[in-house]
Each structure stands twice: as structure tokens, then as C-alpha cells.
Amino acid sequence: MNRWPEISFEDRMSTVHFDVHERAHITVDGDSCHGCTTKACVVACPANLFVPTSDGGIVFNYEQCFECGTCYMVCNVEGAITWTYPDGGHGVVFRRT
């Protein structure tokens, strides 16, 4: 259907500027994910930061986070995702022209 190639997810994310802070502003308690059957975060996160592991858990990477809040909104395990804003000046920076 496509008449030109869609860009790869990596290329897509490389268009976004992130000023990454050493502190992870989101933490995921991967253990609480073992019982979760939906794992909605894996599909819904626009930055694709939630990766299911072979043992039924989740590994998470905060660095390319849009800070949108989708993950904790769709999460159905109380306390699995701890969400704060990154420290001032850090995280995603959309561009000025």
C-alpha cells in the first residue's frame, strides 16, 4: 500500500531531542508486571519504552520518554509505574523554528 518506505522506529525517535538526566523519572516495578496479562503499556507507549521479557516481566527505559503519561494511565497494576516529571530543564525538548 505504501509508495514510499516508512521510517524505522529508531529513525523516528532520532528526530526528537532529549536532554537526558541521570535520574530515571519513571520507574517500573517489573515484578508487579508478571501477573499482568494485558501489558497495555507495551502497545500504548508512543516511544515504545516498555519491552516485555521472556519471563513475563517488563523492562523499561526512561531516556526517550515524551513525558505524556500514557503508561500510568493505561496500567492496571496499582503501584507498578511510578511517574514524576524529570528534573527541571531535562527530558523531551520540542524544537523552536
Partner: protein, 436 residues
């Protein structure tokens, strides 16, 4: 009364926060505007069009200086199936002249400009500073904010939280309704795609600073939502909004849904050959009137997305104007409360009254059932196909068969789509009550 660092701390230098700060600074109050991004607008994105007329009160002739990309002179609403599309296309010369109607603008430009206006009026803007919580006295009254700066506590007689859709401050103050969950929000994802200005003008049928805004329903597959395309000077914004509760349940990722939209036969010719310059994502409070929280606490007001003030009513998709207005009215109500030295929730009641008197809550109250209708399963999954089939048969020439007559087409296509009269009547009633 003990001295505070500022009369008012405004959290978040988006359109709501900057208007609140601008209004208060103009009234002669000391205002600190705190922004967590490195500059105002750096965290912000949207689905494309701002309707800035409400700025007339704060910034006369704003259009002469606002960083606008294009003035929307062509507005299209499109109903789509995987192989069909029906477009209502409206174009107006008037919308291309002052005081204009809608405009496309990059939020990092627009919000930066607006925060600068607040600064010029006397507000103090401090960026790269995240507010981590509220300072409260023994009775629970907000008396300032805690920030992530060293010695970062700042006291104020009043705090206005314009900290966006994930307002941690409104949550901390207990202002949110308990029934607000993922089904009240959509995720917006957008590609900013570079194309030469003359190519954009040619493809979208515009000249100069004229711009186009296309809103689409039926383009998001099994995830309820909608799509949009709009023109900037040398880029176009293409994106989708997706109902969070559906997105979690379906197995299709956001960027795949954009890719499907871009590949649609009606859309592909518009976007072809462009290079993605930036990808972005943001949540949208989409449930309208039914999700609006308590708007004032003791020493605290909330405005903009933090207050759920986004209008997602199908033919009307607005948010920045509600942020501008609610921020401005929050600033006005705060100035009144400071003057009478009563910043309790009761002293701040003028804020809600202002919103109720104006379009901010009037529009939301009138259209309270529309967001649910627009994002509901029938309007999303059934009606677009039915409508497209009706139009296909109306305009199709099926000789040697004679024309079937429109009433017959309507009856047959309703039946074929499996839509019950009762539901159709109910939805029509809801739409007429909201839009009428």
C-alpha cells in the same frame, strides 16, 4: 499577614500559565511563572490549530506579532473508510484577514512568545525548574510551591496550577474527580513532515499565508479516535488522537496508525515524499464537562489542561483557546481575591463564575455529551462505513440499473451496516441537543 516571596506563583508557562501571569502582572501583582522545560513551550505539542481571539483583551493586535505559521482559510472535515472518503471543504477569504479565525503555529514558538509577553508585563519567568509539590499550612491551605532547585521553596499568597494534563498539583490538592480514568483521555501523536512551501501550497490549494486544517474520523482502525492534517509554512503536521482505553486493549501501536493514515489513497498524495522532521506525543483530556475537576481550593486555582478544559466535540476541536481564556480568568479572579485579601476557595469563587459566564464552561456544558458520542463505538466503527456507502451509491452511476432513490439507499445502507433505528435516533438526538 506574613510576607510572601510573591503574590502569586503560576506553575507552567503554557498558554494558560502565561495568560494568568500576564493578567496578574498587568494588574500590578508580583508573579513568578515557573516552567520545567528549558524554555516556555518546549514540552508542548497539539493537534494543530489555535483560535486566539480571546487574546484581544490581553494583547491588542496580537496577530501582528504572534509567531503564526499560516492562517486557516480552509477547513475540512473528512469521513473515511479504508478505501473511501467524504470531505466537507469550507474556504473563506475572511479567515485570511484580521482579526482572523484559526491559525497554525508551532507550540514551542507560540508559547515562548506568550511567556515573553508575560515577562514584558512584569512577571518573572524561571525555566528549567520543576515544581515537585505544594507548600501547605496546617489547615491545608496552599501557601506556595516546592521546586527541585536548592532551597527551592517559594511562598505566595496564591498558586495557579497550569501544569498540564498530568497535573500533579491538582492531584495533590485532591481536586480531581475519582471517576476520571484512562477512558477520559486520548493520546495524540504527530509527525511534523517537511515539504517545500510551494509543494504544500499546490497540494492543499492555498497561497501565501493561507493554511488548511483537515480533521478526520474513521481513520484509526479499531482504536477509537481521529486524525488531523494541517499546514505550516514548510511543514505539515499529520497525526492521530487515540482513545487510551482502546489503545491499551487493541494490539496496534500509535505510529502504525499514523502510517495507515498516511498510506490512505486520499492522504498519500498530500504527504508523499516528505521527510519526518520531528515526532511528538501528548495526552489530551478529552471527556469534556464530565471530567472538569473542582477548580479552586484554598490558595489554589487550576486552569488549562490541568483543569480538563479541552473541547473535543467532533466538528469543534479546541484546547489552546480554552487554556488562554481559563488562564486569563484565573488571573483576573486571583487579582480580585488578592484585592479583598481572601484567597480561600470561597474568595476565589469568582474564577468559576467567570468561566460559567463565558464560552469556557458554556461550551463545555452545552456539548457535554458530544465527546462521548464522537469517541463512541457507533460513530467510530459503524457510521463512517454507512455514510461512505450512502454517498458512493448516490454519486455512483450503475447503468443499466435506474437510480434507486435516496430514501431507499438510506434504508438499505442502514440495514446493511447493522445499525438499529433506535440507536440512530438516540445519537441524532444527542447530536442535535449538543450542536443545536
Amino acid at each position: 499577614m506574613s510576607a510572601t516571596d510573591f503574590d502569586v506563583v503560576v506553575v507552567g508557562a503554557g498558554p494558560a500559565g502565561s495568560c494568568a501571569a500576564l493578567s496578574l502582572a498587568k494588574a500590578g501583582h508580583s508573579v513568578l511563572l515557573v516552567e520545567r522545560g528549558p524554555f516556555a513551550g518546549s514540552k508542548n505539542m497539539y493537534g494543530g490549530v489555535v483560535y486566539p481571539r480571546i487574546l484581544d483583551a490581553l494583547i491588542p493586535n496580537w496577530w501582528e506579532e504572534a509567531p503564526i505559521q499560516r492562517w486557516v482559510t480552509r477547513r475540512q472535515t473528512m469521513v473515511m473508510t479504508p478505501t473511501q472518503s467524504l470531505t466537507i471543504d469550507y474556504r473563506s477569504d475572511t479567515w485570511g484577514k484580521p482579526p482572523y479565525n484559526g491559525a497554525t503555529a508551532y507550540r514551542p514558538d507560540f508559547d515562548f512568545w506568550l511567556a515573553g509577553k508575560a515577562e514584558a508585563a512584569g512577571a518573572q519567568l524561571v525555566c528549567s525548574t520543576t515544581v515537585t509539590g505544594l507548600l501547605r499550612d496546617g489547615k491545608g491551605k496552599t501557601i506556595g510551591v516546592r521546586t527541585d532547585r536548592p532551597d527551592g521553596d517559594i511562598t505566595a499568597r496564591l498558586v495557579i496550577a497550569c501544569d498540564g494534563v498530568n497535573s500533579f498539583l491538582a492531584k495533590e490538592a485532591g481536586l480531581y474527580r475519582s471517576d476520571v480514568d484512562a477512558s477520559s483521555f486520548t493520546l495524540g501523536v504527530k509527525e511534523t513532515i517537511a515539504l517545500p512551501t510551494d509543494v504544500i501550497n499546490e497540494r492543499f490549494g492555498v497561497r501565501g499565508r493561507e493554511g488548511v486544517d483537515i480533521e478526520i474520523i474513521g481513520c484509526t482502525g479499531e482504536v477509537n479516535g481521529g486524525g488531523f492534517i494541517y499546514t505550516n509554512l514548510d511543514t505539515i503536521g499529520v497525526g492521530v488522537v487515540l482513545k487510551l482505553s482502546k489503545l491499551g486493549a487493541q494490539r496496534q501501536r500509535p505510529e502504525e496508525i499514523i502510517a495507515n493514515l498516511k498510506a490512505h489513497p486520499s492522504i498519500a498524495p498530500l504527504v508523499e515524499g516528505g521527510e519526518v522532521k520531528e515526532y511528538s506525543a501528548h495526552l489530551i483530556p478529552e471527556a469534556g464537562y464530565d471530567m472538569i475537576p473542582t477548580l479552586a481550593g484554598d490558595g489554589l486555582l487550576i486552569a488549562g489542561d490541568a483543569a480538563g478544559l479541552c473541547l473535543a466535540a467532533g466538528i469543534w476541536l479546541e484546547g489552546v483557546n480554552f487554556a488562554l481564556a481559563s488562564g486569563m480568568y484565573a488571573g483576573d479572579a486571583a487579582a480580585d481575591a488578592l484585592r479583598s485579601d481572601d484567597t480561600s476557595a470561597a474568595g476565589l469563587a469568582g474564577y468559576r463564575q467567570r468561566l460559567e459566564r463565558t464560552f469556557v464552561l458554556k461550551d463545555h456544558a452545552k456539548l457535554r455529551h458530544i465527546p462521548h458520542l464522537v469517541l463512541g463505538d457507533r460513530l467510530q466503527q459503524e457510521y463512517p462505513q454507512m455514510v461512505a456507502n450512502i454517498v458512493e451509491r448516490m454519486f455512483g452511476v450503475d447503468n443499466p440499473r435506474p437510480k434507486p432513490g435516496i430514501r431507499r439507499i438510506l434504508t438499505q445502507e442502514r440495514r446493511r451496516a447493522g445499525i438499529r433505528w433506535r440507536d440512530l435516533a438516540k445519537d441524532t438526538w444527542t447530536a442535535m441537543r449538543g450542536f443545536g
